[in-house]
């Protein structure tokens, strides 16, 4: 059974599992990797209890392939990994985007590149989440900062993925995944379902309406549809006409970008401040302490990273003297914030970067703010 309403004490990775089950997860295929392993461990126990299926695959390529397959027979499906596994999944992330397959990938980020720093946190995969596969496409990525976020944002990721028929990625990190703390399960969480095809017509499996999202023809229910990573027309059949390709690729992007406002999840604290911290994931906790001690500093927490919440960043950039982007990489969201803030005439955007496998301390943020 999904957890009853109430307060629980768990690890971030465990709260993610409970969020997935609350959202209706039915299928998980994965290959264990630190620091995401607790997700597979707990699901191996919990998913069969729910009547769902858990498979440990031979590697991450097979894992995401199985997840794509299960989604096509109508299951809400997920996998969990970390940097090295996420790299292996890139080709099929593109395939899922091209075939409009709803699925959720949890990437509990650790230090990279390569095998890197297995047990310690990083936020080095932000750009990879968006641009890791080839071609023009959009995905959705959310960044939890707390155990509560791990529960709440996992449900959101499933909802977005189902509604927009797109891979949704949870970009967590080793600290958020491993920390234990309290979280609350509400009486009722909003759970959204994929719009299904119910007819048996078979020549327009990818036909779409004004939402730009085709209704989903579930395999095995009498609707014949061809699914391919090759550019395809609304029947799903390969086409090489430039017009068909352009219509498809533009629609795949537009169905996400056109709904940027609905997908952008952000929290703003101390809104009237003229100095702002912009952050996401576990450095948010250091920033919270800074603004708790000094209410003259504002904080924009990005819970959605892709599509980038441009409106919130522009809103903050309008009236501020400076923005400090705090992230555990060499400046990935920083460059986005810099680009967007510039549109509002805010040129004073600085980066507080950390790549040593530790979260910033509040003191480091305070020192960086003093420097200007």
């Amino acid at each position: 059974m999904r957890l009853e309403a109430g307060t629980y004490f768990m690890q971030g990775n465990e709260a993610c599992v409970e969020g997935a089950i609350a959202a209706g997860l039915r299928f998980f295929a994965g290959y264990p990797i630190t620091p995401s392993t607790e997700i597979a461990e707990r699901l191996a126990e919990r998913l069969p209890e729910e009547g769902g299926i858990f498979i440990q695959m031979e590697d991450e390529i097979a894992s995401i392939s199985a997840v794509i397959g299960s989604s096509w027979v109508g299951a809400k499906a997920m996998t969990a990994t970390s940097g090295p596994g996420f790299s292996l999944m890139q080709e099929n992330i593109g395939y899922a985007a091209m075939t409009e397959t709803p699925l959720v990938i949890v990437n509990v980020m650790r230090g990279g590149p390569s095998t890197g720093l297995p047990t310690m946190p990083s936020q080095g995969d932000v750009m990879q989440a968006k641009y890791g596969s080839h071609g023009d496409y959009e995905i959705i990525a959310l960044a939890p900062a707390t155990v509560q976020d791990m529960f709440d944002l996992t449900i959101k990721a499933f909802n977005f993925s189902e509604i927009y028929r797109v891979p949704a990625i949870i970009l967590s990190d080793a600290e958020v995944g491993h920390m234990r703390g309290k979280f609350t399960v509400p009486k009722k969480s909003e759970v959204l379902e994929r719009r299904m095809r119910t007819d048996k017509v078979w020549h327009d499996g990818f036909a779409y309406d004004e939402s730009l999202v085709p209704r989903f023809p579930v395999f095995g229910r009498g609707f014949r549809v061809h699914v391919t990573g090759i550019s395809h027309d609304i029947a799903g059949y390969p086409r090489t006409d430039p017009e068909v390709h352009e219509e498809l690729v533009r629609r795949l992007s537009e169905k996400i970008i056109g709904n940027r406002d609905k997908i952008s999840l952000t929290d703003i604290y101390n809104e009237d401040s003229d100095r702002f911290i912009v952050t996401y994931g576990s450095p948010t906790l250091a920033a919270m302490e800074v603004i708790g001690n000094d209410p003259s500093i504002g904080l924009l927490q990005l819970k959605t990273l892709w599509p980038m919440p441009e409106e919130s960043i522009r809103h903050v950039a309008k009236n501020v003297k400076e923005i400090l982007v705090v992230e555990m990489n060499m400046g990935q969201v920083f460059k986005e914030v810099q680009r967007i803030a510039c549109l509002e005439g805010c040129e004073n955007v600085r980066l507080l970067s950390k790549v040593g496998g530790e979260v910033h301390t509040p003191q480091e943020i305070v020192h960086s703010l003093r420097r200007c």
């Binding site: 004490f9 620091p35 310690m120 600290e175 309290k182 302490e289 708790g292 301390t361």
Partner: protein
């Protein structure tokens, strides 16, 4: 206002277990002025937690969003000499140290309490619960959280069938804690 606690010792001593019991008890069962308290537990990962040195931090806060990582602990609970050497200088003059007296040879020049945790655990036939004896002593000495809350959390996290053993070890610990305060 936050309180930081660091447990450190050897992998296998149940250092992380003690931290989880403390953070869980504070999170689920402890109230202050009718309001909820929050606690986050973090720990060392990798091979060092599986036989080498082990560390577990707990930060307690009255507000929901706080920096959960411990820099300088208010309380440092030590169960091995290597842990002592590694963490004794990551303290300030107000840090209170609680030592398993047989497992740690050195003594600090800041406030400390000696607890015969391993000896007491051996007396009840289970050296393995020395960590729970230490947890009981810490709860008594610090006075930051009620014994009832932590006992309840201990029952939640103790492996099935060991609840009464853990309860006994915890009570022995609180008694040792009381003696240590009186001897001070």
């Amino acid at each position: 206002m936050t309180i930081s606690v660091r447990f450190a010792g050897m992998g296998g001593q149940g250092i992380i277990f003690s931290g989880i019991a403390l953070a869980r008890g504070v999170s689920l069962y402890e109230k202050r002025g009718g309001k909820d308290l929050y606690a986050i537990q973090t720990q060392s990962y990798g091979p060092e937690a599986r036989g080498g040195s082990s560390k577990c931090d707990v930060k307690i806060s009255e507000s929901e969003n706080f920096y959960p990582f411990v820099e300088i602990p208010d309380y440092l609970v030590l169960m091995s000499q290597p842990a002592y050497e590694r963490f004794i200088d990551v303290t300030n003059k107000d840090t209170v140290v609680v030592l398993d007296e047989d497992a740690v040879e050195s003594r600090p020049d800041i406030e400390y309490y000696d607890i015969a945790a391993t000896k007491k655990a051996e007396e009840i036939g289970k050296r393995i619960v020395a960590n729970v004896v230490m947890l009981g002593a810490f709860v008594e000495i610090s006075g930051i959280v009620s014994k009832k809350s932590i006992q309840k959390a201990l029952c939640d996290v103790a492996p099935k069938g060991t609840e009464s053993l853990n309860k006994k070890a915890f009570e022995l610990g609180t008694a040792l804690g009381k003696d240590a305060i009186n001897a001070d």
